[in-house]
Symmetry: C2
Subunit: 304 residues, 2 copies
């Protein structure tokens, strides 16, 4: 199966602690790295977990709170020191200019590559990136400032040819691609050979949804139905539900309720408040609602 | 003795590694913390080494290369989240505006304290800060961009009164301060009592010099004569002397030559290039010239 791996570089929140780093994740899909969020120290975490800087394809920034962006200047500078030449695409709210413009002026001719900023739409679902293998879409969350979720999808692969049947029916090479994509085959004698006799199913699509930071928001369920893995913030325990509402964050129980309603296969909770010295109690709260839940932790790798 | 303690938070250079963090140090003088340089992740290092954010008095930034400043946005944001109200004085080259101004606009009314920027003079020696107990001065180094060194001095304390002699000569209370500061005492019978009969010496002054980043620069010797501890960068080994010259950095041997010529009591070398997996060889080179040398390492605390 093509690689589809999520590495947690940081799963803390605004206030850094000795337990958790500010938010950042890497999606490794077929040897390309897609980064979500870039809190302070993200490049140091990449070093620690031996993620290769040269594989970094593009960056997706959920929102412009400091704990999600203050690692950008250091990361961009280091990529330049390493001599990167490929464009770096950054998907973020357009106000990130406040950080990027002074940095670009500061680095000036020292910057070895071009940065392309693709502004996120904070109001509706939008396709951000697509190639033959994958698709990334974005949709709005409910936070104090414009915040977007990201859905990473590895597409269903083409159906697999049954070589012996292709030979048996003398299917011409030029029709193979259509058949891989589901077409039936009309023989020269007029017989129609159904696709299912000629192929076996390809790999199903796999989906990862990243939803942080957000208040409890059932509106997102429609976008994350049946995903293989949902990362949902769980900044607080249920005992701090009022605080969660005030700050537009979620409790662990609320994250689990969203997972349950969306019928996801697995839930991972993160973005833990600095007040928690341990997160097992958050896990317990979530598992009471949605048993297939796990805790994010720095260095964790999940393969889909 | 009044506390005078240096904590190494980071002693790497431009490229982060798994061995060293970007440059930052804390000077703890009498329960106030003075920070020198603030590379990415400095606030995380403060957490790790249990340095209290509330004790942070002011910041001294040697120059504006990213590895010395990219920790500022995160640190300033966190101080604000913690509700700091005291002004924060930052001593740095005036071009740091490129980073501070957008940050101040971004934080806006969320910033709970005032930041005062004191521009460094990149061309000559200058007193930056002084109170009864200490003095901080700055002088130019020789780097690719304007770069300043910092000299932290804990002043000599007043002489100690010999209580029994003060009583014996019936010295009036109002003259005690003058005598602590070295004055003799004229008795009512016309006898002059020399100060050395009335007092014992106070604590001598102690000095710490921070010299990073810099090419080999004998011009600095005059400023660092006889300091108790000299931190001098040693980015490269002698085998990379050409590279050191090209990039306006020093070799370990050059750092030791400066220490020897300045008659310092102890040398600490740091700002190691990312190419070195071990720094013992740099230590060996320096010790061949100046035996009382030690290596900087994250978490090290030196008491003067």
């Amino acid at each position: 199966m093509t690689k589809f791996e999520i590495t947690i570089l940081g799963c803390g929140s605004a206030m850094p602690t000795t337990l958790h780093h500010p938010p950042s994740q890497l999606i490794d899909m077929n040897e390309k790295l897609f980064m979500i969020d870039c809190g302070e120290g993200t490049q140091l975490q990449m070093r620690k977990y031996k993620a290769r800087m040269s594989k970094l394809h593009s960056l997706f920034i959920s929102h412009l709170h400091g704990d999600h962006i203050f690692g950008l200047p250091g990361l961009i500078s280091t990529l330049s020191l390493l001599g990167r030449t490929a464009d770096l695409n950054i998907y973020a709210h357009k106000e990130i200019d406040f950080l990027l413009n002074p940095l670009l002026t500061y680095l000036g001719s020292h910057l070895s590559f071009k940065i392309n900023l693709f502004p996120l739409n904070p109001h509706s679902e939008e396709k951000l990136f697509e190639n033959k293998m994958m698709r990334v879409t974005s949709f709005p969350l409910k936070h104090r400032i414009d915040t977007n979720a990201f859905l990473f999808e590895q597409k269903q692969s083409p159906r697999h040819i049954k070589r012996e049947m292709i030979d048996f029916y003398h299917v011409p090479v030029k029709q193979i691609n259509e058949i891989k994509n589901g077409a039936d085959y009309l023989c020269s004698d007029g017989n129609l050979i159904l696709n299912e006799h000629l192929t076996t199913p390809g790999k199903p699509s796999r989906k990862y949804a990243y939803c942080s930071d957000t208040a409890y928001s059932p509106e997102i369920i429609t976008y994350i139905k049946n995903v293989d893995l949902l990362y949902h913030e769980a900044t607080f325990a249920e005992s701090e539900r009022n605080r969660a509402e005030e700050t537009f964050h979620s409790t662990a129980q609320q994250a689990a309720e969203i997972a349950l309603a969306a019928g996801v296969k697995k839930l991972m909770i993160g973005h833990f408040s600095s007040r928690y010295n341990e997160t097992e109690s958050l896990l317990k709260e979530a598992m009471a609602v949605f048993p297939n839940t796990e805790l994010a932790v720095e260095g964790k790798i999940v393969s889909l």
